[in-house]
Amino acid sequence: MNYRFIRNVQGKKRFFPQSAVTLFLGALVLFHFVYPSALGSLATRVALPFWSANQFVAEKAHSLLYFFSSKSALARDVERLTAELQEAHRLLADRDLIAEQNRVFSEALGRPTQRAPRVFGAVLATPPRSPYDTAVIDIGVGDGISPGNLVLSGSTILGVISKVHAHTSLVEFFSTAGKKTPVSILHGGGAIPAEAVGEGGGAFNVTLPKEVPVRRGDTITMPGLAPLTFAEVEVIEGSDTDSFQVIRFKNPVSIGALRVLEVELASRE
């Protein structure tokens, strides 16, 4: 009679998981180097119904919560929003005048005055769902999106399109940890060139020599012929003995609370 050795049975069991990991690593290398976008479209197609359902439920839940909120709370909200609207109207009173001046100066300098066309996309997923400070929006190839298009929220630039699928696109925020972005810090009528390093979650830092004059509240823009708002200087770190100062700032809009993003179709100069 033949008996199976226990050692042999254990050996077979132990072999399986390690070989699965080896196969998995091989597949990763294959996907990265040979077929970088092979499964991406399929994965987003699988996830799209869940994202859409989540969006629908979130909207319904939001309106339902308003239905149950008390009258006094609603009255307080209306009062607060009215005050904010009046303040916004006051601040924007000279906006048209400045825009007209800008247009005249741009024409005089021979620069294009027409804005590149923009497409609106609903945000389907943002961090912390995403591990890489990226977001998924519900517009893709069919809407004219292509990798490298700028992504904005109003006049604030937030990132670029990294991947495009049939019905969705992946936005890579400039605040992705370790990502370096050239910026200009506007101070005293001049523009200080700097390199913003992303820290994740919409936060950045810039390291500059101590002698460079920067103040809290200075506007930070993307350099170029038609600069876009990036952020405002929030914190300046550094003691009297340090040679450098670290400037910290955040995107003016919270990445996690984004509902809609704009994509500029034409690339800027």
Binding site: P17, F24, L28, F31, A125, P128, P131, Y132, S162
Partner: protein, 84 residues
Amino acid sequence: MTRIFVDLLLLVAAALLPWWLVILCSAAFFFVFENFVELLFVALLLDLLYGAPLERFFGFQFALSLGSAALFLALLFLKKRMRL
């Protein structure tokens, strides 16, 4: 049957829940089921959905999957030691 249900739950979780929670749940299920390779596939799905070639990882877009492979081996070692 239970395992298929858990796999479907993880698939939905990858689309709707924070990534760290999905990985944490998968790691917990590793101790419940035998050879829970779904941990690797969930990380791959997260990379396919949200991954971009980042400078931080030298342009490699499957960093989480790579990390999950290391986690898988670590959990395998731990599970053997725990005699589960």
